[in-house]
């Protein structure tokens, strides 16, 4: 099992979220309280027919409130979500005016800028190799988002982008915390970002077929109920300075594979499950979490994509700040055997574990606590 990182707590000072529920922590909070978040419909052609697929899409027009439009002319949707999440997190931390020479930018992405990756291929396939677009090419490298964040914020600390599907967030977060421990920098903008693209929608139809569900049922382990989503969730992190940060601390990060044993779940932590309605992964949760464990799942509010652990972390941060567990949204009775709250209640345990399994058995767990 992973050891604790020298018992060094990483302080969470600001959060910024952009998702299908809207933009900003307020909108996330509203969705958590109401239990409502409605995906849009996207027309997808596959398997010889056209269907309207539900997708949790993001709107980044709020970015205009932070950055001049001309400065955004080469920033695509993937990078826009990251830039917006970053500004929101900095604003929430009250650090928009701070010098950023010692600010690192660490980004996790499951698939990278897929729309631009395929737009670059379009430019070659449509008009020939000599018409391949250099602007699209330079935006199709996975670290483009981190680059745009650094350029627009003038953040000259180290930059890191990590991409490994469902484990991207815990892996990148480990390095974010280690940069702080190393002391070359004093703060990290850490976030997860993934975007929806037509190719993803097409692939979903081919792999999963079209489902009739209108919301994700994360605890219905055997059901394919996933709904595609996209978004960014960013955090302003610093070392533990001895004060009480707004959203508490990251206290541990575990990454491993079920071949080496299941996750080491501390008895008193509430589990936030990154289960997002993929039936291939569902059994991994049911096999490795004891019956009666206090758990919640919020994926129905923002959708299914590899970096959703970052959203669970944002919700955990809000939970720690308000000392409560928001109700798990859901449209059917809970047959999971886990102790799930369908109404808001006090956070008795003071610590939360955000757990995500990848379909090949790898898993990541991020622990957060108030103190």
């Amino acid at each position: 099992m992973a050891k604790e990182i020298h018992d060094m707590r990483t302080a969470i000072r600001g959060i910024g979220t952009v998702g299908g529920f809207g933009c900003g922590a307020d909108k996330l909070h509203q969705a958590l309280v109401s239990g409502q978040s409605t995906p849009k419909k996207i027309r997808v052609k596959a398997n010889g027919r056209e269907i309207d697929m539900p997708v949790f899409l993001c709107d980044t027009t709020a970015l205009a409130g932070f950055v001049d439009k001309r400065a955004l002319r080469r920033v695509d949707h993937y990078s826009s979500m990251a830039v917006l999440g970053s500004y929101l997190a900095l604003e929430d931390a009250g650090m928009l005016q701070n010098n950023r020479q010692r600010l690192a930018v660490v980004i996790a992405t499951g698939y990278g800028p897929t729309r631009t990756t395929f737009s670059f291929l379009d430019s070659m396939l449509a008009d020939g190799d000599t018409c391949a677009s250099p602007t699209l090419f330079s935006n199709s490298v996975h670290n483009a988002a981190a680059a745009h964040v650094s350029i627009l914020l003038k953040a000259s600390g180290p930059n890191l982008t990590v991409s490994q599907f469902e484990l991207s967030v815990p892996s990148a977060l480990l390095s974010a915390c280690q940069w702080l421990e190393d002391r070359q920098i004093d703060a990290v903008l850490f976030g997860g970002v993934d975007e929806y693209s037509d190719v993803l929608g097409y692939s979903w139809q081919r792999f999963f077929g079209s489902t009739q569900n209108t919301c994700i049922e994360p605890l219905n382990w055997g059901l394919q109920s996933a709904i595609a989503g996209e978004g960014s969730a960013f955090f302003l992190l610093t070392r533990n300075d001895g004060d009480q940060p707004k959203y508490g601390f990251i206290t541990d990060i575990q990454t491993s594979h079920i071949a080496n044993g299941g996750p080491d779940i501390a008895g008193e932590a509430v589990l936030f499950l990154g289960a997002d309605g993929h039936k291939l992964c569902g059994p991994l949760y049911s096999h490795h979490i004891s019956e009666g464990t206090h758990a919640a799942s919020y994926t129905p509010l923002y959708g299914s994509f590899p970096v959703n652990t970052a959203f669970d972390m944002a919700i955990a941060a809000l939970s720690l700040k308000e000392n409560k567990i928001f109700a798990t949204p859901g449209c059917r009775p809970n047959k999971s055997g886990l102790r799930i709250s369908h109404i808001e209640q006090d956070l008795e345990s003071k610590s939360i574990a955000c757990l995500k399994f990848g379909c090949n058995g790898e898993f990541g767990m991020v622990m957060l606590a108030a103190e």
Partner: protein, 399 residues
């Protein structure tokens, strides 16, 4: 352990156009071989056939995943990891008994850009989905972890051209903080038609062999390859009675925060990264024997890099090895770290390939002849799209 504890490098694996293992690569460098040619595995409708540095198809692939099921980049990564682990004397049983992590840099290895699949999709055909499945099974760090049954942290770094350098630095952090006992750290990238066309569109590829730091340099040549270093704590290394081939002393990184593709003209990010690495290693410029520079052969990179080196490390010999290997993108930093360690062992460096004439704009030329080393430390550095700058400081080992 604190943040500048030396980490032992106990094994190295390296393959690229220069050779199928580290020894072959170093022979090739010191023999002055520059094995570039127009690409053979793909074609392009550009009128010019830009030279690339390809690995011949029959390279020795090791691994349990069937060749067709994982992409070339992941296969290169596994092969380099295999060589490194053998070199370091790690058996599979030992790997599984200890916590060994894997940290690999890549660019092409994380890109879903299968043209055949996408072309069919665009045309409304019903393509096979195995291109997507193969992509999902080919994340380089995950493939290595799976192949060798590794139980430590797993990370794929996608920092463009500094990925390999970053992966080694980040892997060393894991050991210093006690998260794992050893790390397989490096980078891998295959030559790919999409990337080839992308770099040509940016007008930074040379139609002939690249000439890093030369007055007449016109751009880079792409290459492919992989390199892996086995990193472990001094205690583990001593307990295993395994000599260290080198020591990773420190890692510094910073971002220019300037432009998506061009380096900051004042080299601010590279200066910050060099400064951080030297400070963390508790060494000064006077201690450094040589620098393996990024040296791609593009007008901008070489101008900025040589000015910064002259300012911060005046008089320290430097070279680019990209004239021997091409620019291997995510693998570059790792391949160059491997070369740096090998040069420290041999106590000599080859000439900077492709250099003949000093550019009046550049303050100092790279080494032009095989040169004996003065000093037991070296720097390997990389600059990347997006403005990343990454610097590793290595010290001589026990070999």
């Amino acid at each position: 352990m604190n943040h500048n504890t030396p980490i032992a490098v106990t094994g190295i694996g390296c393959l690229c156009a220069a050779g199928q293992n580290l020894e072959q690569c170093m022979d090739s460098l010191f023999a002055g071989r520059q094995p570039s040619a127009p690409p053979t595995r793909f074609s392009s409708s550009h009128p010019v056939r830009y030279p690339v540095f390809e690995i011949p198809d029959a390279f020795t692939f090791i691994g349990n995943d069937k060749k067709s099921e994982i992409l070339r980049t992941a296969r290169l990564a596994v092969t380099a990891a295999g060589e490194a682990l053998r070199d370091a004397g790690w058996s599979r049983a030992m790997m599984q008994a200890k916590r060994m992590g894997v940290c690999i840099g890549t660019t092409v290895g994380s890109a879903m850009n299968n043209e055949g699949f996408y072309r069919d999709l665009r045309r409304g055909r019903h393509p096979q989905m195995n291109a997507v499945t193969r992509f999902l099974n080919s994340n380089p760090a995950q493939v290595i972890a799976r192949e060798f049954g590794l139980t430590g942290p797993c990370q794929t770094v996608v920092n463009a051209c500094s990925s390999g350098t970053d992966a080694i630095g980040l892997g060393a952090f894991w050991i210093r903080s006690g998260i794992c006992d050893a790390v397989v750290a490096g980078g891998a990238d295959e030559l790919c038609r999409v990337t080839y066309n992308g770099f040509i569109s940016l007008m930074i590829a040379d139609e002939s062999l690249c000439r890093p730091f030369d007055a007449h340099r016109k751009g880079l040549n792409l290459g492919e390859g992989a390199a892996v270093l086995v990193l472990e704590s001094e205690e583990l290394c001593r307990a295993r009675k395994q000599p260290a081939r080198a020591r990773a002393l420190s890692y510094g990184a910073a971002c220019d925060a300037y432009h998506l593709t061009a380096p900051a003209p004042d080299g601010s990010g590279l200066k910050q990264a060099l400064s951080a690495a030297l400070t963390a290693s508790k060494k000064t410029a006077a201690d450094i024997g040589f620098i393996n520079a990024h040296g791609t052969g593009t007008p901008d990179n070489d101008r900025v890099e040589s000015k910064v080196l002259h300012e911060m490390l005046p008089g320290v010999p430097f070279l680019s090895t990209k004239g021997y290997t091409g620019h291997t993108l995510g693998a570059a930093g790792a391949i160059e770290a491997a070369f740096t360690v090998a040069c420290l062992e041999a106590q000599k460096i080859p000439p900077s390939a492709g250099f003949t004439t000093l550019d009046p704009e550049l303050p100092w030329p790279p080494v032009q002849h095989e040169t004996d080393l003065n000093g037991s430390l070296a720097i390997s550095q990389s600059l990347a799209f997006g403005g990343n700058n990454a610097v590793l400081v290595f010290g001589k080992g026990d070999t």
